[in-house]
Subunit: 370 residues, 2 copies
């Protein structure tokens, strides 16, 4: 039975960070745990937030990808200081770590009990009040149900629940003015892929599809300016909105590009956005015949000529913004292809792709991008 | 500071009504008050719901427009039977009445203390768990913050709070198969006006605008079939989705058409949708020069030729579906115009209209539609 949900509560404006105290108060949070990473702490963001919210307790050790270990360390800090809520300031890692902490401080089980890739995942109850402030544009996790974690036993799992959707999102585009070009490009292509794959998903719906299509148009029009003119606030603002729209679009799951990029990432441990960008064009060409109406809308939104090859267009965009589309250049070789193709064909993202690729079909796509 | 919110949790499918027991359980409701109207009771809907949910307590006396009196009567029934939640099955009146009951059984104040048209409206806390099942397409109140009530002192007020957004909506298009042609037309134009006015609102945003535009396209393509082929389930389904999209669009407030139709309704007490339809085209022509890009999108979505008059196009659509666009035929005359124009110019809906009409400008529009 189709169930469509939208849960977003977003403050969106340059300088929106200044609203942090009142938005925490609105959620009833008096003593927040701040979750961020060492780089942002070094840039002075912990100090800046302390000036706004003196009572905060800071956990600034978020690793590049969130781990169960780090989540437990942060939860220990939360309990020790009797915190009553959480805010994350950072990229996908800090936001997902904050979601995990929100679970740990309100539930008695292990995090792995909620891993949807596990044998019998439990349902979540309410988590600690959670506010997030994205500093990349972006993973979309600021409005999504997902939390990706490296568990203590070494496997990467996912916790997936509407309970994890942050209660409030503060989108302050000024926080991305210092995002370096390569990260702008990689996180921007991640956001674009969320909009494209969410739009094409075979479980997309009339509430998320229009938002996804608007996101495609918006990101396509802004991404090069955001990369080349780092201080262009309009471009940064559009990228942040596009990432938010991508986060909403991906509530309807993703497709072949992510089916491939997740196992690619398990081998390369590179930037997820860069890995997804490398295979996005090929995934779109793979899908084109199955969803011709949707692909026409996407071509119009991107500005691809009707007789143009969509894979070449997307690859050329990547090149213009400094991202490679050669999997070999990223670090893969022929010996990796079988494993990636196998995982891609069995991925949940393949299930919601417009066509369900076989192992052989994924092998062919991946080989063509080597 | 712009704040964008989306809160929708929708089950959307023919026969979705069968999911009522599990959706009530999901909200923790074990003994629901059912709020509906005498007409639907007569059609057997109370019995049908009792078969699904034997423990329900039925209040089937919702008047055509919700009143404080009826809300208190229903709340009394709720308390007497120790209910723990509410579901409404009906049109805007039943759903708004249910929202009012949800307030009464959880708050100690009078309903009028929350009236946003009053001197110092209080803020709402959480209300009773609320699920709604629309049977018209529609007011959009199933996903909106508003509750329109006739208070005991005779004035029509509004309670406006995100707390009033129903926790779950069950959209079962089959429930509208029996909706008569005139109601299909009138509620359909109400939904279309929500999409159009929400799209043009000067506080619209990138999350609601794409949904609103999709709603315009969808309703324009379906409304005549829904009126002329009452058993066309696809058309009914599209109208129900368009109404939902209109409910989301109107979270960004409305415009000149509603600025006029609300005071028209205060005089005529006719169908709000029919009253709005009569002035919608004129309102769009009034706005066209102020939002040319948006009006171009709307023309494309409606199918209005680029050199066509948008007012004539909308009026002709109304005529084809049996709705008049002569205010005199609806029951007004010259002596009513000043009062309506005065109220329209001071309406909150005028404030969010692309241009803020003066009393003289509204007088001219209304006179032209007499």
């Amino acid at each position: 039975m189709p169930r469509y949900y939208l849960h977003s509560n977003v403050i969106f404006e340059p300088n929106a960070l200044e609203k942090l105290p009142e938005e925490l108060a609105r959620l009833g949070i008096t003593k927040p745990l701040m979750v961020t990473d060492p780089g942002l702490a070094e840039l002075g963001m912990v100090q800046k937030c302390s000036d706004l919210v003196p009572e905060l307790v800071a956990f600034d050790s978020t690793p590049p990808n969130p781990t169960e270990l780090a989540a437990n360390q942060a939860a220990e800090l939360y309990r020790r200081h009797a915190c009553d809520g959480i805010f994350a300031l950072g990229g996908g890692s800090s936001m997902d770590l904050a979601k995990a902490v929100g679970i740990l401080v309100t539930h008695k089980c292990d995090l792995s009990d909620y891993d949807v890739t596990g044998p019998s995942p439990k349902s979540l109850g309410p988590i600690a009040p959670l506010l997030v402030i994205p500093t990349t544009a972006g993973t979309g996790t600021e409005v999504s149900v997902g939390c990706v974690l490296m568990f203590n036993d070494g496997h990467k799992g996912v916790i997936d629940s509407e309970r994890l959707i942050p209660a409030t999102v503060i989108c302050d585009p000024k926080l991305t003015l210092s995002l370096p070009a390569r990260l702008t490009a990689a996180t921007g292509m991640d956001a674009l892929s969320h909009c494209i794959e969410g739009y094409c998903s075979n479980i997309s719906n009339p509430l998320t599809e229009p938002i996804a299509l608007d996101g495609i148009r918006r990101i396509a029009a802004a991404i090069e300016r955001a990369v080349n003119e780092p201080n262009n606030l309009d471009a940064r603002s559009d990228m942040m909105m596009g990432a938010l729209q991508g986060g909403i679009a991906m509530s309807m799951e993703l497709g072949a590009a992510h089916a491939m990029s997740v196992p690619i990432g398990a081998i390369l441990h590179g930037h997820h956005g860069a890995e997804t960008a490398a295979v996005l064009g090929a995934a779109m060409r793979f899908n084109e015949g199955s969803v011709p109406e949707k692909m026409k809308d996407i071509r119009d939104a991107l500005g691809v000529p009707s007789d143009g090859c969509v894979e070449n267009w997307v690859d050329n965009l990547c090149h213009r913004i400094g991202l490679g589309t050669s999997l070999r250049a990223l670090g893969l070789d022929e010996t990796d292809i079988d494993r990636i193709a196998e995982e891609a064909a069995h991925s949940v993202f393949n299930a919601t792709n417009p066509r369900q690729g076989t192992v052989d079909e994924y092998r062919a796509i991946l080989t063509s991008k080597l």
